[in-house]
Symmetry: C2
Subunit: 189 residues, 2 copies
């Protein structure tokens, strides 16, 4: 089942603003990134950036939304798999790929307290989370299942930025994350 919630598709110029913002958020944090920095990164003036988005908050929201859209696409692809097992595996691999490809970006942006606040009551965010939960632990709503799920998602995105794994190449990291995530999820009491 596809998500019924659609984000507005950014124009090419907006997409450039978003990409610049995400890059800077990952390096300096959301609160540590100014409009001037985004403009400089793009090689234009602040006024040009304001032509794409009316406030700084809109840029932050659009950048966070774009990150969430990528995750939603991974979830939607996984849901098209024919069996629950294959859907589960596809989701894990999708999240691992996404995280390793973008290393700091995903965890820093989705982990930022300001963005977490934005998403607190966000319908798309809740739907994506709900879909992931159903794919990974089914209808099990026990405390154990929820903690296990939260740990799994935090482990994948958090581990990719950890100093312990900094000198691992992407392929090795992907392989290990995927394998360990699958085994962690398969744990039975």
């Amino acid at each position: 089942m596809r998500s019924v919630i659609e984000s507005p598709v950014p124009s090419a110029a907006q997409a450039r603003v978003i990409a610049a913002a995400q890059k800077l958020f990952a390096r300096h944090g959301v609160g540590g990134t100014s409009l001037q920095m985004i403009a400089d990164e793009l090689g234009v003036t602040k006024a040009a950036v304001y032509h794409q988005y009316r406030t700084r908050d809109e840029i932050v929201l659009a950048a966070a939304r774009a990150e969430l859209d990528i995750l939603a696409a991974v979830v939607a692809t996984a849901e098209e798999e024919p069996s629950p097992q294959r859907a589960r595996d596809a989701l894990i691999d999708g999240i691992v790929d996404l995280t390793v490809d973008r290393r700091r970006t995903v965890s820093t942006i989705l982990g930022d307290p300001v963005i977490a606040g934005f998403f607190d009551d966000d319908e798309q965010f809740r739907e994506v989370m709900h879909q992931m939960r159903r794919l990974l632990v089914g209808e099990d709503a026990s405390a154990e299942a929820r903690v296990r799920l939260a740990m799994l998602l935090a482990a994948i995105s958090g581990a990719a930025t950890h100093p312990f794994v900094r000198d691992l190449d992407d392929d090795t990291l992907r392989e290990q994350l995927s394998e360990l995530a699958r085994r962690f999820l398969g744990l039975r009491g």
Copy 2:
């Protein structure tokens, strides 16, 4: 073995600044917290805060260092356990307690990109990480052990702030985190 690296002990007034800063960092992010906000939180003026620390960066560093000191104390306590198994269990429980007690604080502060940069070449940080590594996976330096360790630490601190577990009470969360962490670490290929 105790850490040989000691942080300067903050005065009472400095400790209040640090506590206020940590609270605000958790809510607004490091870059999103101004000196004015810290002063307001304490009910004093900016000049009074500047009397304790000469620059904003020093406050950020002191707050991060204080967080690291707590973690270092947990590691030191675990190292005094008589057997490797008990040391490992004590470390896991210590990290879980720390994370649940302080929920957003630990992961937001240690996960902030600016603070991660501060700690990149920090000796105390490296030593604490090294000690944790030795306690949890011994001398195993394989890619698998390193990824497993990074995942474990990210899973504990990240899961505590995850929306999936928001409505769990502290005791339940502690119990589940501790149990699942121990099982994850015990996984054998």
